[in-house]
Symmetry: C2
Subunit: 203 residues, 2 copies
Amino acid sequence: MAGGDAPTRIRLLEAAVEVMAESGWSAVTSRAVAERARANNALVHYYFGSVDALRRAAVMHAVEKELEGPVEALLRAEDVLDGVADAVRGLIERGPGTAQQRVVVEALMQGLRDEELRGEGVRQIRTFRDLLAARLAENRAAGLLRADADPAALAVVLTALMDGLLLHVLIDPDTDAAGATDRLLALLRPTGPQDAGEQTPDE
Amino acid sequence: MAGGDAPTRIRLLEAAVEVMAESGWSAVTSRAVAERARANNALVHYYFGSVDALRRAAVMHAVEKELEGPVEALLRAEDVLDGVADAVRGLIERGPGTAQQRVVVEALMQGLRDEELRGEGVRQIRTFRDLLAARLAENRAAGLLRADADPAALAVVLTALMDGLLLHVLIDPDTDAAGATDRLLALLRPTGPQDAGEQTPDE
């Protein structure tokens, strides 16, 4: 995985993600990462300055790559509830979890102890929520979401649900995350014309 | 915290929870825990056999204590959706997270790498889901939940939502977890008599 024609900095990040997925945050040392990436030890310090900076860069690299799929699913879907369903399906399609997913969970965990990472986590969570809330508001106006659903509140719970389901699928791969999400989302759709957004622009 | 009149084994567990909350899984050593609990180092091995066994026992201790509140809220509430709302309120009431909550997240994380812990995690998640599904089915029959809501599916998503919200509140304490949950749960209630469970026992 870590190798090929990618720039050295990216190869080091991917190697750090692999080491962290296997053995955790503290197992990421410049030696372990340089060995995995077949790069010179000194390059770690050249690119990242410190081992902690490398660890943070590695978890943010994993978070950004992991979020690409869900974010694109949300932006692309005409019906954002379908986009959420696709994002959940994307999480679990990869089987019992990828190295990158394990590192995302590690990022969430380390974020509880590391103020700089926590700041990044807050930024990522809020950006995702805001994007989702804006798309939900559009969909409600178009009658694709119940008129009594609150876009901002729904964005908070659906964002948390996605992280919670990722965690539960990694622990219990038999979790029917996609089926359960579909059943929940079905309850958020207008049940009849009287319930469609356009007829009741009360917010 | 770790001290008082509790039995030594419990004092060691509580000390391990504190050390793990502050500095993570690998910071829990028999020396660090014995010092914190003001107990003899050898007692760690007497009670737990190994440091890894102590770490696992500590995270399970935290998980069990953390689940007490939500489980009791679900068992006690006549309306189980109110019980879920109370459980979420309980999660966030404690401010920016307790040592125990941090260790619960650590348990979820370590469970991705430790088969024994993962087994415990699967057991806990499934027990909680089953309890919730049974109560949701009762409530649907009593007309407190929409007839088209599937209790088993809803139990999967609400259990994941609670863990996801715990994580998000610990990272971003400004998350309006309680308000957002209330808005979601309101959408799961019957909207009229035609929608109440008793009239449509179709499952």
